[in-house]
């Protein structure tokens, strides 16, 4: 019996230690004014100037540590956010030579290291992306951003506060392109000796500076009190950025009080989050969840009746419900409030009878279905709930005689297929692809998908769509430098796009974010990027 006593004694002591440990534990205390954010990224976005991790990298690191020459207006939750002066006070295109853009730089702007922002700094940063012979050239940073300025030719210093950019062809989208190029301190790079070292102690002109960086674990940002725009000087003492890629882990971290704010809570967790006293903030932003259709020979989507029928068969309210209400039914590529909406006559709604009639006209029915194969992913940035949503659509389309087969691939593999195009072997004969898109700027929203010379692999016109009329409209937009006139032409592009049902559109995301009731002052802009300057902790 003494043996069993000793076994039980050991077990008892072990259990006792664990029990005492648990009893002693308390929820972590939060320092006043510290905002802790759980990001969806796997890692802290790169801090050396051009961030990785897509637009989340821009949102939490790029645009907090740095500024562009042109910034996005993130000050309002009501109006679509447009472009506003950043490190350039003004810019204009040369009326005699529309390939030349003059930027008048803001005076008196200091980098975090105290050095001055000027024309030399602009040239340094542009050379970093485009000039392979410059010591600061970084192929990795170039790979993250320079595709956004495809027509770049040169940049020239006129004086300390004036630079002139030259593009290969006239391009009215240039201001939208330059806003992704962030300005890092040349002096800090010189002191660091390499971008790897610079990343540990970066220096930009943004409203925050980097205080702590532990790869894959955390970044801590503190306010930059000398920011050139007083309205953007942060109110919080510190922002802690934590990569929490798993949605359950993010939700648990919020509910257990380890973070104050999480990005993209899982829709099924939102009721629980709300019932626990947290706020869920959302706002529609330039995002569209759609099926991008193949137009290569033999694709069933070449028949406009099939494309329109698919758009009429989808139960969008049901999908919004599936997403916990955190989505907006798509009426087109952009929302009806957008300046690029136009006046499409084809209305996206659920009308099964009309859809069936169109399918019958095309020679198909539920008994004699047309077969389509779609490439989709099980997860991915901006993809929302891709498997559940696609299966929902599969059922909707089966009702009208479209039999959908899915080729489910990993997210990166899906992007490979998207870049390679519908004709590529890796597309495996797919008739379309489900990649969600930004509609933040005209090029990202329309041009890259619809211009025939950007057919894969030259661009991401995945489906090899080609229409001379659309090409002409898109060319005209790039040659129209008056913003109002340009928007009017883009509205024509969108009208044509919807009326010809060039995509199967499903929903727009509204970017739900869950945060504690003590997080105040956040105004969700209608943008992929957000300002943290107005946020404070109560």
């Amino acid at each position: 019996m003494s043996t069993i006593s000793s076994w039980i004694g050991t077990l008892g002591r072990t259990a006792g230690v664990l029990a005492v440990s648990v009893m002693l534990a308390t929820a972590p205390a939060n320092a006043a004014g510290t905002l802790r954010i759980g990001m969806t990224a796997n890692d802290v976005p790169l801090t050396w100037g051009q961030p990785d991790n897509g637009f989340e990298g821009f949102r939490f690191v790029g645009l907090q540590l740095y500024d562009g020459l042109i910034n996005w207006d993130l000050s309002s939750s009501d109006k679509p956010s447009g472009l506003i002066p950043g490190l350039a006070e003004s810019w204009s295109v040369d009326p005699d030579d529309q390939t030349k853009w003059t930027f008048n730089l803001r005076k008196g702007v200091k980098f975090h290291d105290g050095s001055e922002f000027n024309a030399d700094a602009v040239i340094f940063n542009i050379d970093k992306q485009f000039n392979e012979d410059s010591p600061q050239y970084s192929a990795r940073q170039a790979s993250l951003v320079n595709f956004r300025m495809p027509g770049f030719k040169s940049v020239t210093k006129v004086d300390d506060y004036t630079v002139v950019f030259e593009t290969t062809t006239p391009d009215s989208f240039f201001p939208f392109q330059i806003c992704y190029f962030l300005m890092a301190s040349p002096a800090a790079f010189e002191a660091a000796g390499s971008w790897e070292e610079f990343a540990k102690n970066p220096s930009g002109t943004g409203p925050f500076t980097l205080d702590v960086l532990t790869a894959r674990e955390r970044a801590e940002l503190v306010p930059f009190a000398d920011h050139w725009d007083e309205t953007r000087i942060p109110k919080v003492d510190r922002v802690v950025l934590l990569p929490l890629p798993d949605p359950s882990a993010r939700t648990a971290a919020l509910l257990s009080g380890q973070v104050d704010w999480i990005e993209a809570p899982a829709p099924d967790a939102i009721p629980r989050i709300k019932s626990s006293g947290f706020q869920v903030v959302s706002n529609v932003y330039p995002h569209v969840w759609s099926w991008h259709l193949s137009r290569v020979e033999g694709s069933p989507w070449n028949d406009i009746r099939v494309r329109k029928a698919a758009n009429l068969a989808i139960d969008r309210p049901g999908i919004v419900q599936l997403l916990g209400g955190y989505a907006v039914e798509a009426k087109g590529h952009v929302t009806p409030e957008d300046v690029w909406w136009g006046s499409p006559s084809f209305e996206l709604k659920t009308d099964i009878e009309a859809a069936k009639a169109l399918m019958a006209e095309a020679g198909f029915s539920p008994e004699n279905p047309v077969k389509v194969k779609m490439s989709i992913s099980a997860s991915g940035s901006g993809q929302m709930l891709p498997l559940q949503m696609n299966e929902y659509i599969q059922q909707n389309l089966a009702e009208i005689g479209i039999e959908v087969e899915f080729d489910v691939v990993e997210w990166q593999a899906l992007l490979d297929i998207w870049r390679a195009g519908a004709k590529a072997p890796q597309a495996n004969g797919s008739h379309g692809i489900n990649v969600s898109y930004t509609t933040q700027d005209p090029y990202s929203s329309f041009t890259r998908f619809l211009r025939s010379d950007l057919a894969a692999p030259a661009g991401v016109n995945f489906g090899y769509y080609s229409d001379p009329e659309m090409d002409a409209l898109l060319k005209q937009t790039q040659l129209t430098f008056d913003p109002v006139e340009r928007d009017a032409i883009l509205a024509k592009v969108h009208t044509k796009e919807v009326d010809e049902a060039l995509f199967v559109w499903v929903v727009h995301d509204v970017a739900p974010r869950a945060m504690g009731e003590n997080v105040k002052g956040f105004q969700p802009a209608k943008n992929w990027f957000q300002s943290l300057s107005s946020v404070y902790m109560e």
Binding site: I4, W7, D52, A139, R140, F147, E196, R216, A249
Partner: protein, 317 residues
């Protein structure tokens, strides 16, 4: 015995070479470009080619292997293609975190497993045996990532007594052996200990039961030894087997805690591997697999040598 130890050490050389070939080759079998996951979606081909050349991905695979092996022998495992961090630096942060978690889990698993297994073996056929065996089977069968989520829901979300995620204030860089940090270790360690606990319970039970049925135990009883003294002999006889199993379990935990580290955002080698897999970070993947595999090789070597030292029968063979 010295000859045996030397021969075991010499065996490690071809095994290590094989490990390097597998660690390097396996990640190249996966389809797709090694840089697709890190370059921008519309990145021009010329920039991607330049980047490939920078990382040496433009060379034939055998050339890449030779260069990688040459660098690895001098302690350079390259740089991550995602965050440019030297792989050695990433491992220097991740390995101690995983080691700490794996040692705690193994220790917990060993204490609980050996106790339950000993009880079950000693009281074979009784309700104590049934309860302990049931626990062992449950431990082996339960998906530990699921258990991790359940523990998080109970202790972090509902009771709010333990943290749900991370390694503690300040991350790896600020780790200290104080309560603020140790409490982050509790849930992942318990979760990770469940499988070794189950395996050790079953192993110890079987070993103890077998030893108890041997003649020498009867002889010890006949000599009038107390139960405690008899158990001491049983434990000494069971130790080599249990040690071997524990060593293997520690090896598995060092390399196989991807799911638990991901659920708890524990910045160890499992988390590193998970990140590297999803972002196709080939240098990090290769370096981490190599280091983990070498851990396993060295651990097996240590267990073999330790067994030889404590078991005279093995010394004779």
């Amino acid at each position: 015995m010295l000859g045996y130890i030397i021969s075991r050490i010499l065996y490690v050389i071809p095994i290590s070479l094989g490990v390097t070939i597998l660690a390097f080759g396996l990640v190249h079998i996966a389809p797709g470009d090694p840089l697709d996951a890190v370059v921008g979606a519309d990145a021009p081909a010329s920039v991607v080619e330049k980047l490939k050349a920078d990382y040496g991905f433009d060379q034939p695979i055998p050339v890449q292997y030779a260069r990688w092996l040459g660098r690895a022998l001098s302690g350079d495992l390259g740089r991550s293609v995602t965050n440019n961090q030297p792989v050695v630096e990433a491992l220097a942060t991740a390995v101690p975190n995983t080691l700490m978690l794996a040692l705690c889990a193994t220790f917990l698993g060993f204490i609980v497993g050996a106790s339950l297994g000993g009880l079950a073996g000693y009281y074979q056929g009784t309700w104590i045996d049934k309860v302990a065996t049931g626990f062992g089977v449950t431990g082996v069968s339960i998906p530990h990532y699921w258990l991790g989520i359940v523990l998080v829901i109970i202790f972090a979300v509902e009771l709010r007594v333990l943290p749900a995620t991370g390694i503690g204030p300040g991350g790896s860089a600020g780790w200290q052996f104080d309560w603020e940090h140790i409490k982050h270790l509790i849930l992942p360690a318990i979760t990770l200990s469940v499988i070794p606990c189950g395996i050790i319970t079953r192993t110890v039970r079987a070993t103890v039961a077998e030893i108890l049925s041997q003649d020498f135990v009867q002889a010890l009883h006949a000599k009038g030894l107390l139960n405690n003294s008899v158990m001491l002999h049983v434990v000494k006889n069971a130790a080599p087997t249990v040690l071997a199993v524990m060593g293997l379990q520690l090896g598995y935990l060092l390399g196989g805690s991807i799911l638990v580290e991901t659920v708890f955002n524990w910045p160890g080698t499992g988390y590193l591997l998970n990140d590297a897999i999803f972002r196709r970070d080939i240098p990090t993947l290769q370096g981490t697999i190599l280091v983990l595999a070498m851990f396993f090789v060295v651990l097996n070597l240590a267990v073999d040598i330790l067994q030889t030292l404590i078991d005279p029968r093995m010394r004779r063979t």
